[in-house]
Assembly symmetry: C2
Homo-oligomer: 244 residues x 2
């Protein structure tokens, strides 16, 4: 099979998002339309912290794999965006502003002791994927960022409108990601289109986006099962009624 | 066995440097005292490029392993120092100014095609060590930087004095490392003294410094064997008489 045109590869990648990005998950619909109570929003925020805190490790793993200095110079922005640098607090700190605002204890959140096991497994699977797959697949797995700005806009508007415990200050993380995610996704998409030069690699890149959608979706499935229906919270995981 | 006092650990780490840091290698004595010809200095610079280019991968690997955001925020400076960031060119680029100044073709240098196999094996062993050992051992393996400023000072003075093909501009790499290496080594030493809390870990940390000294020493052994005595250049490696 001959390679696809780069535009066809982009179309297939975007089609994965249209079909299975986590904006379609029922938990997000509940979250954005004000149907969750504060305990459920807390559960979401503290589990999602796990993902946020893991992203720079994933990005550093990617950097450790490439001898291309220009690629590392570009990619390190992601690490700096999340971890912060000097005066700039970074995305993880902005996420903790959200969990603070929800009344969660910061040491409890950062310990990830209350996170669902399924959350931890999903985020570690992401790090492992980036460690082990080809570099272009590792880069392709970041491409869910193509779909992030619209969910962030929906989330900011929806959560501000519907929850009296959410204000503009705690939504800073999502505002910042509107511009960061767009820049990052443009770079990564261009890289994948230029470097996935065989049909096999192109298909692996589409599969990498599908994999990453699974990583995101599985986290919401676990939240939904534990905190919505049937509400079966696993042993040791965060229980809203015991929130500080 | 109870843990050593942190001061004793530091003493043992410094003793490793006193015994086996690569400032003691005959090749460096030849290099710094003007006893090498231009082809031998070229061979040194293009092999050492291999090491320089690998260091940010090693540092990114270390970052990918830690959930400690403060540690990543500190460690990322090493990546930025080597790869550069924005207008700042970075240490690898400064190294290429040196190889340019020695009349080596930049594409040939960065391809590492002419580097000795033993150089490549040594630097990859360093990356692997940082991937696989405990975090505190990985950090300890950077502590040869404690011993670097004196060799850099000796090198700057010696090479400027003895070689007419070396000028101040091409020595910029070493001048910059005088301050960077000191800051980095202070942080890493403090980290190791605080986190190697059992006798076993402490001994592993001393061993990590020894390992790193091997990584550096083995590179000079290979250079000495290929380009000094007996002058047996392996097939495919750089041959001075064919330098561009």
């Amino acid at each position: 099979m001959s390679p696809m045109a780069p535009e066809e590869l982009e179309r297939q990648i975007r089609a994965v998002g249209a079909e299975r990005y986590h904006d379609k998950h029922p938990f997000h619909r509940l979250l954005h339309s004000g149907k969750l109570d504060k305990g459920q929003v807390q559960a979401w925020a503290l589990n999602r912290y796990c993902y946020q805190a893991t992203v720079p490790r994933k990005d550093a793993a990617l950097m450790s794999r490439t001898t291309d200095r220009e690629l590392r110079r570009e990619w390190v922005h992601r690490v700096l965006d999340h971890d912060g640098s000097g005066e700039e607090e970074g995305g993880i700190e902005r996420w903790l502003v959200l969990t603070d605002g929800l009344g969660l204890d910061r040491a409890y959140v950062t310990s990830i002791a209350g996170a669902l096991p399924a959350t931890r497994f999903a985020v570690e699977a992401y790090v492992k994927f980036v460690h082990e797959r080809s570099l272009v697949e590792a880069i392709a797995s970041s491409l869910t960022e193509l779909f992030a700005p619209s969910i962030h806009r929906e989330r900011i508007a929806g959560m501000l409108e519907h929850y009296d415990f959410i204000d503009d200050k705690v939504m800073a993380y999502f505002r910042r990601r509107l511009s960061q995610a767009t820049r990052d996704a443009d770079f990564a998409l261009d890289y994948v289109k230029r470097h996935a030069t065989t049909r096999e690699l192109q298909e692996l890149c589409v599969e990498a986006v599908r994999f990453k959608c699974h990583v995101l979706w599985a986290q919401l499935d676990a939240l939904h099962h534990a905190y919505v229906t049937p509400g079966l919270i696993p042993p040791g995981a965060f229980r809203p009624e015991q929130a500080p």
